[in-house]
Amino acid sequence: MGVLPDEIKPALQGVMPSHMATCSLAGEPNVTTVSQVYYVDSDHVALSFQFFSKTIKNIRENPYALAWLIHPGTLDTWDLEIVYDHSETSGPVFDAMDMQIEAIASMTGMKGIFKLKAADIYRVISASKTVGERLPLAEIDTAASAAQEK
């Protein structure tokens, strides 16, 4: 049995954007939005390498990162501690990511800007639901808030 539980899989389908926190060797943290963290297997996820961004530079210096995910059904948020393993520029993971990035770019008006250079594969060290960040879905009083707005 791997590190990633089955219940996290919907958070890895690109329905809601994820965030990724990295740190340079000089000790500067960085946080960015990523369109999708991809499920590879129960111990690995993949992230897209599209531009030579600060995130990519940091990861090449210091392979540890934290991915923050949103489950689109429960709206729970998750912290994934991950470590960069290797990059793939062809193969099934790359092809699947390329196709999904094209679709996300098209839906968000970013077609032609998002272009996959490589699928970066990360090993998952831990996966945990965040504590103290989200109310349980049943406790969110959306009806009262909607009425207040009217």
Binding site: M16, H19, M20, A21, T22, C23, S24, L25, G27, E28, P29, N30, V31, T32, T33, Q50, F51, S53, K54, N62, Y64, A65, L66, W68, I70, P72, L75, T77, D79, E81, T108, M110, I113, F114, T130, V131, G132, E133, R134, L135, L137, I140, D141, T142, S145, A146
Partner: protein, 155 residues
């Protein structure tokens, strides 16, 4: 000095996160519910839930490195890096800023056609009190809008 465009983004309908790191250079992520640029435009105070703040308190006091990622729904995004100044429990004035931030984010997402059945519980489900106000002095600012210019230094 933080320029108008970034002040407007921080005070507007933005998704904001704060990042820190520990002594092993492992980064953390904490979602922010509301933030305010100081009148001198050299510092920012952002508001995070108390329980999430507890995870990063040691990082703030030991190395003090802070980054704030600010993303508008238009994809316009900025990253502000700096040094921790201090923290305190949020007060009634902070709470008003947080509630305004939630309302702006919710109404902007609904106006842009995001599905209400997801957006409303998503925004309203973030715990924001009891909260902590975390202040830092901004040293560097970067453009982070997706594209080849992402990472460009702005100051």
């Amino acid at each position: 000095m933080i320029p108008d465009s970034i002040v407007e983004a921080i005070h507007g309908a933005a998704v904001i996160s704060v990042g820190t790191r520990d002594e092993q250079l492992r980064a953390t992520h904490t979602l922010v519910v509301g933030a305010v640029v100081h009148p001198d435009r050299e510092a920012i105070t952002c508001f995070v839930p108390e329980q999430r703040f507890a995870r990063i308190q040691n990082n703030l006091t030991s190395n003090g490195r802070v980054t704030l990622a600010v993303s508008l729904l238009t994809h316009e995004a900025y990253q502000l890096k700096g040094a921790y100044l201090g923290s305190r429990p949020t007060d009634a004035k902070d709470l008003a800023i947080q509630e305004l931030h939630r309302a702006k984010l919710l109404s902007t997402m609904l106006q842009r056609g995001y599905p209400e059945a997801i957006v409303r519980p998503f925004i309203l489900g973030f715990i924001y009190q009891p909260g902590m106000a975390l202040s830092f002095r901004v040293e560097e600012m970067f453009l982070q809008t997706p594209g080849p210019e992402a990472g460009k230094k702005l100051n």
